[in-house]
């Protein structure tokens, strides 16, 4: 038994002095245009929308809202660049362009990290140490594939697809742009990319970098906007492939709307991933893994470990330690390096999360919320735990995309496999156990594209990512990520 902490309030009331990341070196323009054919151009729609810092609710900049005509212009530029330029560039030169982008991103990494935090609400330590380095490394990794594609697909002739349309979400803005653009370029395609409407800034900064890199005009086009802008890309007749990361609901709409066309499709969608704690797990590490699994990036993670399964005989201990750990999480200014939990990405998303918390209470689940000091302005949500939930509860079945964890217990391994797989999703899973044979039994039986054993939420450019079942199809990352952007000829 751990020694009882007697003067809890004394320990936990210690304040950290603020450790704010500087923002002086960061340049954000008042207004951003579309990046088409190598130039920043005003939208033909004539419309702009505000992008908000969710931590302060202040407007950061204005972003162009591309319409059908803007998308058409971008696709035409991409087609022209594909036909006249990019398909004629040698594979080794393609590699060198992509390497250049990786290096320029590394040089401006701190600026990108700060902008990412301002625009998305995620904590600076995460954007600085995870998002931005991974995004740079993704370009660096795929650059090297450009002149080695034949090795990836034995016995096949590898061809690019042409113009690819890519639509990305707001939870990892620059990282998702990198996941999409880097393999597409390496395989010889040209790109029209639409960032999420709440987080366009780092994609536009990437456009500046791409311009600086000397990449031929039109090879990458970035069209900002809302859902209608994305729909215009999906429905454009001259796009050869759609790559989408976002909700399962929209993914289904996309699959249906390209019916009858020859467009290729890869989808990286939602999840409700199981994080399973077996009774022989190293409990303290597992508790850290639970926290990282669900509270990392405010729970705005498609592969978040949002369904916790704890073996019955250790459930009390795990929950006690988990609650204590939740009490210690610091929630607040994302630019402060002490902050663990930043701001919810948008007011809309905060409303969704709060709706689900209300549903959970209505369904009769027991709620536990950490009660940290929360800034007065901005969109924040306290880390939340629901116990006494049933498999059929909506908070167990549906993706919440916020810092909300449901906890179920189990007795046998067979039981937890069935419960974990009882979901339309199949993106990721976590397993905590000290016994290799148990880990491999579970890892082979869980229907999930990524299995983290004794770890959680780890990503790497060489590691394929993507789901089973309604979490989508296709993989991003690694050699498998190339498949999404090539035609194979015998």
């Amino acid at each position: 038994m751990a020694k009882k902490v007697t003067k809890k309030e004394d320990v936990f009331s210690w304040d950290y002095a603020p450790a704010l990341e500087g923002t002086a070196h960061v340049k954000i323009k008042n207004k951003y245009d579309l990046f088409i054919d190598g130039k920043f151009v005003k939208p033909m729609s004539g419309r702009y929308f505000d992008t908000i810092n969710p931590a302060t609710e202040e407007c950061v900049s204005q972003i162009a809202h591309g319409n059908d005509a803007d998308v058409d212009k971008a696709v035409k530029a991409a087609r022209k660049a594909y036909k006249n330029v990019w398909s004629k560039v040698s594979p080794s030169d393609r590699a060198k362009y992509i390497y250049r982008i990786a290096r320029l991103m590394q040089e401006r990494a701190r600026e990108l990290a700060v902008i990412e935090t301002i625009d998305s609400g995620k904590v600076i330590t995460e954007s600085r140490d995870i998002d931005i380095p991974l995004a740079c490394n993704h370009f660096f990794y795929y650059a090297g594939w450009a002149d080695k594609l034949a090795y990836a697909f034995p016995n096949r002739k590898v061809e690019p697809l042409g113009v690819v349309g890519q639509i990305i979400p707001w939870n990892f803005p620059l990282l998702m742009a990198a996941w999409k653009i880097a393999p597409a370029l390496a395989a010889g395609n040209t790109v029209v990319l639409k960032p999420a409407e709440t987080t366009s800034l780092t994609a536009l900064k990437l456009a500046e970098i791409i311009k600086d890199s000397g990449l031929p005009d039109g090879v990458v086009n970035i069209v900002t906007g809302h859902g209608d802008t994305g729909a215009a890309i999906v429905n454009h007749a001259d796009v050869n492939k759609i790559a989408f990361t976002g909700s399962t609901q929209v993914g289904k709409l996309i699959q249906a709307s390209i019916a009858g066309t020859d467009k290729k499709l890869t989808l990286e969608l939602g999840g409700k991933s199981a994080n399973i704690i077996l009774d022989d797990a190293p409990i303290d590490q597992a508790v850290e893994g639970i926290v990282n699994g669900i509270f990392f990036n405010q729970g705005h993670v498609c592969c978040a470990g949002s369904r916790l399964f704890v073996q019955e005989n250790v459930a009390d201990l795990v929950l006690k330690k988990l609650k204590r750990r939740m009490d210690q999480l610091i929630i607040g200014d994302p630019l402060d390096k002490n902050t663990d939990i930043g701001a919810i990405n948008s007011k809309e998303q905060l409303n969704t999360i709060n709706k689900y918390i209300a549903i959970g209470k209505d369904e009769g689940a027991d709620i536990y919320q950490a009660s940290p000091k929360v800034p007065e302005k901005g969109y924040y949500c306290a880390p939340t735990l629901f116990t006494d939930v049933a498999q059929s509860n909506r908070i167990v079945q549906e993706e919440i995309f916020g810092p909300v964890l449901t906890v179920q217990t189990f007795r046998t391994v067979d039981e937890v496999i069935q419960k974990a797989n009882n979901s339309p999703y199949g993106l990721a899973a976590g397993i905590w156990s000290d016994k290799g044979a148990r880990v491999f039994n579970l890892s082979s039986k869980l229907k999930a594209g990524v299995v983290w054993a004794n770890t959680y939420n780890k990503f790497d450019p060489t590691s394929p990512f993507g789901g089973y079942k309604e979490s989508g199809f296709g993989r991003e990352g690694g050699v498998h990520g190339l498949s999404a952007y090539v035609n194979l000829k015998s």
Binding site: Q255, G260, V451, S463, P464, E470, V479
Partner: protein
């Protein structure tokens, strides 16, 4: 005196059994000479649903067979097909094929099964990878079967189209529900008998005769089917597959291939019905590399 022939009742194949369609319906396709091929089952959507249930039930066991064992069973199918070669040739000729082509088609089908039998314990090594992540983790990716696959078989051939899709799908550990050629269904029914005699567990392959135009919808809208394979070039069918598959995000693969060509068989047909699973585990780094040597 000549012995009176016993005529064959053509049945469908669900969960390792040979029922007639639950609907009681039949149709009577004709060959080019206008002769009746037989009273063939006009399968219903209920037969589709029963087949999906059988395929799902068989999936766990089949996918967990060792790769070696799956290879042996696929090879056994080839052996059984070889043994009944003359029956298939007769059926192909009856359905309009020349003797030479019929013999070629059966030989090709046998070879195709042998080809995929050999892949069973090898594709994992080509499709999988160990990934050199930039952190202290062991990380590897493996291929796992997608699940239950709906197959709309080539309508222009009786045997080779059927075999060319069934083989890579089950070699990869999936189970399937197959819609046979409507106009040339005889070999599909007889192939079911070959499967049944080949140690293929019941439910791994389910074969229905009837009208694809009627049966595609219940198959592709079924929420427990994970993927669809379509051999053909109808834009309407492709559109319907994509539209309905959006219900539960089925993976769709379409093929416009001349299956008689010897090179229309490859690893990528297996890969079309595989999911890539990536597993991470930390590596405890105690002691420097210098202490190892």
């Amino acid at each position: 005196m000549k012995n009176l022939d016993v005529l064959k009742t053509y049945k469908i194949y669900i969960g390792g059994s040979f029922p007639r369609t639950e609907s009681g319906r039949y149709y009577t396709p004709l060959n080019q000479k206008g002769e009746q091929l037989g009273n063939i089952c006009q399968s219903s959507r209920k037969d589709v649903r029963n087949s999906v249930v059988a395929a799902r039930k068989a999936f766990g066991g089949w996918s967990e067979r060792t790769a070696f064992n799956r290879g042996q069973i696929l090879y056994r199918i080839a052996e059984m097909l070889q043994g009944r070669k003359s029956q298939f040739i007769e059926e192909l000729i009856f359905q309009g094929s020349s003797k030479t082509n019929a013999e070629k088609e059966v030989n090709r089908s046998i070879d195709r099964l042998v080809y995929y039998a050999g892949w069973c314990d090898k594709y994992m090594q080509i499709l999988g990878s160990v990934n050199p992540v930039a952190s202290s983790h062991f990380n590897f990716s493996i291929a796992e079967p997608t699940g239950v696959v709906g197959v709309v078989s080539d309508q222009t051939t009786s045997l080779i189209g059927l075999v060319s899709l069934i083989a890579p799908i089950i070699a990869g550990g999936n189970t399937c529900v197959v819609l046979a050629s409507e106009g040339m269904p005889l070999c599909a029914v007889t192939f079911a008998e070959v499967l049944n005699a080949s140690d293929v567990p019941g439910g791994v392959v389910n074969i229905l005769t009837g009208s694809p135009s009627e049966l595609i919808k219940p198959l592709t809208t079924h929420m427990d089917v994970n993927a669809m394979a379509y051999s053909g070039d109808s834009t309407e069918v492709k559109a319907e597959l994509q539209q309905s598959s959006a219900l539960n995000l089925k993976r769709i693969s379409t093929y416009m291939k001349d299956w008689m060509k010897p090179n229309n068989q490859d690893l990528y047909l297996i890969a079309d019905f595989q999911e890539i699973k990536t597993t991470w585990h930390p590596i405890e780094n105690i002691g420097g590399s210098s202490s190892v040597y």
